[in-house]
């Protein structure tokens, strides 16, 4: 995540001015994630200890300190609206549409994260499902708007390469976003204990790398391609 941030920011001079705000935000998203993953890592290390008893096999034990999953939700509350905004900005829509889409998708996605948290910290399966369902309402609205919106935007891209990248961004958005509700369900279907916690953490981490770093690389590729098209247009005599 940290390397992705540096990559996006070092690429700022290589894209035209129109795409620098999108690329700046792309790097901010992975920077915020870097900070929270350090917090998650430290919280994890403090919650578990690995030691060998009397020189025998190594075993994992609880230290008594709780593992705090709240860092993930604070991260998402900040990064999810931002990464929707970076996608809207790189599409370079008309100004009014950019502002209205940013507000609508930004608020809906923040609501989605906020509604997920009360269920995540619950052991009661019925309560977990209740918040999962509530959170899925803004989730479906955002994913549907993106899938449809990106389809339209794809057809308006200035070159075939930009169109194919926008199409890839669309598939990656739907794929990576749909991972989260499934990972959330790991504990809701009755799995519990250390194995369920491990699968949940691995699942969320993989989905985060896809939705933030890999998605960011696509945003950068779209920005670079559109910049190249714009610059070659300027240099041509017509």
């Amino acid at each position: 995540m940290g390397s992705a941030t540096i990559f996006f920011w070092l690429q700022l001079p290589n894209v035209t001015k129109s795409y620098r705000t999108a690329l700046t935000i792309t790097g901010i998203v992975t920077l915020i994630a870097t900070y929270h993953y350090i917090r998650i890592f430290n919280s994890w290390s403090e919650a578990f200890t690995v030691a060998s008893k009397d020189g025998g096999d190594y075993a994992v034990q609880l230290t008594g300190a709780p593992f705090n999953d709240g860092y993930r939700y604070v991260d998402w509350l900040l990064t999810v609206p931002l990464l929707l905004i970076e996608l809207i900005l790189v599409m370079k829509l008309p100004r009014e549409e950019t502002v209205s889409l940013s507000w609508k998708l930004g608020l809906a996605s923040a609501l989605m994260v906020a509604l997920g948290y009360p269920g995540e910290i619950q052991e009661d399966l019925a309560v977990r499902w209740f918040w999962w369902c509530l959170s899925m309402i803004p989730f479906c609205y955002v994913v549907f708007t993106l899938a449809v919106g990106l389809n339209e935007a794809t057809s308006k891209q200035p070159s075939p390469a930009a169109a194919s990248l926008a199409s890839a961004a669309r598939y990656l958005t739907v794929l990576s976003w749909c991972t989260y509700p499934f990972v959330y369900m790991v504990k809701s279907v009755g799995l519990a204990g250390p194995a369920a916690t491990m699968y949940e953490q691995v699942g969320y981490s993989l989905a985060d790398v896809l939705a933030k770093a890999v998605f960011g690389v696509l945003i950068w590729a779209i920005a670079a391609e559109k910049s190249a098209v714009e610059e070659s247009g300027k240099l041509l005599p017509n």
Copy 2:
């Protein structure tokens, strides 16, 4: 590794735009390695303690905390595909060839690292050899593709200096890559205990400096030479 990162990034304005992405990634590879070597260093320090008993000779003792070699594999999983991509980018092949080679070599090398890990954490010699053999399949594919691909690319370089640098990159790639399977074998041929662990760590560390920092300097030299050729071409009256 950290110094190499700073060197590569400070050199960014000294190469033309075509080579800046390659140089940015070269610095990211050594940055990721810096981070993991700090983790490896700390894990090593926590696993062993040096103390003198009753004022006598100093002796190394186990603390009970395990030395975690997983950091190396996480590092390789991220850096090995990236350093192949930096090499492909600096060759400045046609766009489609760049994309297809990056995917093929990136995925094959990630698979190579992933297949090596289950054997690395094994004491059972037969199981170690099994994973070593599996990992050698993508290894041979990548090294062969590089050796052949770099041979072709060498002949297309824009100046004799660039050609000789590309040729050096080719030899360094084959030499440094072939070090890893031999170091892996240290424990597979029956060597065990602290001495084997020490030889393994020294071997992997030396191979990493060659494959990341020294290799990165070659990538920078190729980028600098080709930038100079491109800029002198622009200044000529033809």
